[in-house]
């Protein structure tokens, strides 16, 4: 079962996938280009019915990495989509129009790392105070 999921994704998006790294039978990481994220997220969430876990973002000094974690509960597998975006102009398509549960985390990444999510319905601060200075992002490593 668990292999089937990866096979399905591979078959559908063979030319978009840059790399697949299977750390263990229950954990897999798929590298993608930022422009392909939205359609693959839609496929995994809507067609394969994976549970959306969370998005995490990492500042790797020269780029910002964004990871979308999805859980296949029956198989006990976590598939992570990984993409790198430019640190000078951090912008990526929002997945909130597809997944309601992603609204908060995208707002959080927006304020903590300064990533702008295009077409997010309500992109404003979530956690930090109103008087927090613009352009200062606590989770960036500068």
């Amino acid at each position: 079962m668990a292999e089937e999921i990866l096979a399905k994704i591979k078959e559908k998006f063979s030319w978009q996938i840059l790399n697949i790294f299977e750390k263990s039978p229950r954990r897999a990481y798929i590298d993608l280009k930022p422009e392909n994220i939205k359609e693959i997220v839609e496929f995994i969430f809507r067609r394969l019915r994976a549970r959306f876990v969370i998005v995490s973002a990492v500042d790797t000094r020269n780029a910002i990495e964004i990871l979308y974690h999805f859980s296949f509960d029956i198989e006990g597998k976590i598939i992570t989509l990984r993409t790198k975006i430019d640190k000078q102009n951090p912008e990526i398509e929002s997945v909130t129009p597809i997944i309601k549960g992603a609204e908060w985390i995208e707002r959080e990444i927006y304020e903590l790392l300064g990533v702008r999510f295009k077409n997010h319905p309500n992109l404003k601060r979530l956690l930090l105070a109103e008087d927090w200075p613009e352009g200062k992002y606590p989770l960036r490593r500068d």
Partner: protein
């Protein structure tokens, strides 16, 4: 009809933590709910980057005081996955015992608060009284009533002595009649039925859309439980069941939590039996953490805790991401509260067992001056009056 904004929070008696709910109501009906966070944001993810892996455990323990072993549990799972560490079997049983004892005390705590919100203060006092023996056991085996500091990368910090086993056994046995009593209170009381059934319904589809977790999801018939789906610690080694209910209302959430406590008792007993025969070390020697990334999950009382850790080979994580269950569960209130009445809002908001310190790791309105609104106390009063009214109508 005029629309009114009712602020709940950030500081008011409905929640013991700061959180700001804005209810837009028309008459009795809730039209919209807006949630504002940020009062409790401590920046734990950032602090974690400056701590060593051993220190991180103590830090993430303080993400939340109620589920205070859940975060270290997920954390050790993540680091052990990253570094491929094999944990001795005895430590696995001890970990599961701690995890389940915590579920017992957390669910009892919720039951008490839920009772308080619908005007059953006796339930509150009783549930909290019966929670005390669980805390006593914690104090006995870990040295602290809360913040147990039992998890350690590669094992556990303290052993459970064989002399302590009969006492733990006696305590969980003593809980069973209490659970029977609470089950009776919830299942057979016509007032509770009238108050909780059909209130704050969350459908299966909503659970999927919002990614809801734990008892909130299981009460809507979605059988997700990390302990079964992605087995870890001693959960695959003992016998127990995942509890689900189909209705998705507040009543179902209460039933799920009560029945889960029976399962916890089962797991604890199973683990204690094994502890008697499984000996050996309680921790593996860990030399260094290689570069790489790890994902750790644990089924906390409120749902799945998710930790993502990335290492560059040094003794500190490069990035530490924490996702607590309430982070996904609290937004579901936008579905379950809207359309209901104000007097049901309190119990519905409380039904997901929200935990804001978790949600923000990293938030009741100060009475917005000039705005006409109800205070939090009025809200609880409204809720309690409704129970009284139902009681009178039913002549109980």
């Amino acid at each position: 009809m005029a629309k009114t904004i009712i602020p709940i929070g950030p500081y008011h008696p409905l929640q013991e933590e700061p959180e700001f709910f804005k209810l837009l109501v028309e008459g009795e009906k809730v039209l919209e709910l807006e949630i504002e966070l940020g009062y409790n944001h401590r920046g734990i993810e950032k602090i974690a980057e400056s701590k060593s892996y051993d220190q991180v455990l103590f830090l993430v323990e303080r993400v939340c005081g109620i589920c205070s072993t859940s975060h270290p549990f997920a954390s050790v799972n993540a680091v052990e996955e990253l570094a491929d560490i094999k944990v001795p079997e005895r430590a696995l049983y001890i970990r599961s015992i701690i995890g389940e004892l915590e579920r017992l005390h957390s669910h009892l705590l919720w039951l008490g608060l839920a009772g308080h919100f619908i005007g059953y203060n006796t339930v509150w006092m009783w549930a909290w009284r019966y929670r005390e023996p669980v805390l006593d056991i914690f104090e006995k085996i870990t040295g602290n009533r809360q913040h147990y500091a039992m998890m350690k990368i590669g094992g556990v910090r303290r052993d459970i002595e064989s002399d302590d086993i009969p006492e733990i056994w006696k305590m969980v046995d003593g809980l069973l009649p209490v659970l029977d009593m609470f089950k009776g209170v919830v299942m057979d009381d016509p007032v509770i039925h009238a108050r909780l059934k059909g209130v704050g319904i969350l459908t299966k589809e909503d659970v999927f859309e919002y990614g809801a977790l734990g008892p909130t999801a299981r009460a809507s018939g979605v059988a997700i439980d990390v302990r079964k789906d992605d087995p870890y610690a001693a959960y695959p080694l003992v016998d127990w069941q995942v509890i689900t209910q189909e209705e998705g209302d507040v009543f179902a959430k209460a039933v799920v939590r009560i029945l889960e406590m029976y399962e916890s008792v089962k797991i604890i007993k199973g683990c204690l039996d094994k502890l008697k025969v499984v000996g050996g070390e309680i921790d593996a020697k860990v030399k260094e953490i290689p570069p790489g990334e790890g994902i750790g999950r644990h089924e906390a009382p409120r749902g799945e805790v998710f930790h993502y850790v990335r290492s560059d080979g040094s003794n500190r994580p490069v990035r530490y991401k924490i996702r607590a269950p309430s982070y996904m569960n609290v937004p579901t209130n936008q579905k379950s509260v809207v359309g209901g009445t104000i007097s049901d809002a309190t119990i519905t908001l409380a039904a997901v067992d929200p935990c804001y310190c978790c949600t923000e790791r990293v938030a009741v309105v100060d009475k917005k001056t000039g705005k006409k609104g109800l205070t939090g106390q009025d809200l609880i009063k409204l809720s309690q009056e409704k129970t009284l009214r139902i009681k009178r109508e039913m002549v109980v």
